[in-house]
Symmetry: C2
Subunit: 145 residues, 2 copies
DNA sequence: TATTTTCCCACTAATCAAGTAGGAATGTTA
DNA sequence: TAACATTCCTACTTGATTAGTGGGAAAATA
């Protein structure tokens, strides 16, 4: 029951863009270097974010990417669902995947509870929250110097 | 982020044993038929449960399996961890798998919250709870007849 | 002894994860 | 305009994992 690199990297990319959210374009190369992820692989992941309109791209020299909206408008859940697909722990909970024994399946209740718990976490953290945490951490670091 | 059939089936097997917890032996063949799972595949799954001491086996004719302890002693989490392995959503949270950037990784906090939420659900449901739900359902069914 | 059952091990086919690779399209800059 | 930087697009690869199948030995019972 692991989140794949695709989803994890996507969140890190979005967070990277949020942290560098100056209006300027950020190159894949720079993100890849900062996040220590293969450029080519990142390209593919960011392509998904781009098609979904989560980021805006500018082609050509001095091009790159930036967030389409405010960091506060993106939850971790949105990003994961986009890149990972459904976050349901069993496919019975996915649209059009319901199994026949649903009515008499006690375990399904457990999976539903689990699903709710998962959503409760990932839908309640935005990129802005993560940015704030980073800044807090940096602030406390400065103090200690 | 799906739970595999192995984990799901294991829970269903244990619940099946709990529902038929009369002290008598239950054959793999019967569980397989009731749960609509391949006998051979079930064998492998139940072997894991057996090695871990979750079930007791009796070989030979009229043999089979039964729960080693009370249904209330088994949480869904125990069964899933045994058959699925760690339920941590990212491997950074697993023992001995910590990555180097943990200190500066804001996303790790999200994964930790997620992990807690997952454990909070699966460690708080026992087989006895599921049995009770089934009996409630059957009770209300009887009423409606 | 024949039958029933668990136990054990090897194999497989399909799918997915995690990239790699190459080059076209587009825009900037010298 | 030529060189360069960057996104964009598609195909390929390698290894692991999932979800089983299959055959038969070992143990117990009838």
């Amino acid at each position: 029951m692991k989140i794949s690199t695709k989803g994890r990297y996507a969140v890190r990319v979005m967070l990277d863009l949020a942290l560098n959210n100056t209006g300027e374009c950020i190159k894949v190369k720079d993100i890849a270097a900062r996040q220590d992820i293969s450029e080519k692989y990142l390209e593919q992941i960011i392509a998904v974010l781009n098609k979904a309109g989560y980021v805006k791209s500018v082609r050509g020299a001095q091009g790159g990417y930036r967030l389409a909206k405010d960091p506060g408008d993106y939850t971790v859940g949105m990003i994961l669902r986009l890149t990972e697909g459904s976050m349901a722990p069993v496919s019975c909970l996915d649209e059009g995947e319901e199994c026949e024994q649903c009515d008499t399946c006690e375990t399904l209740e457990v999976w539903k509870d689990l699903y709710r718990a998962i959503n409760g976490v990932i839908d309640n953290v935005t990129l802005a929250d993560l940015v704030a945490k980073r800044q807090q951490r940096e602030g406390s670091l400065d103090y200690s110097i």
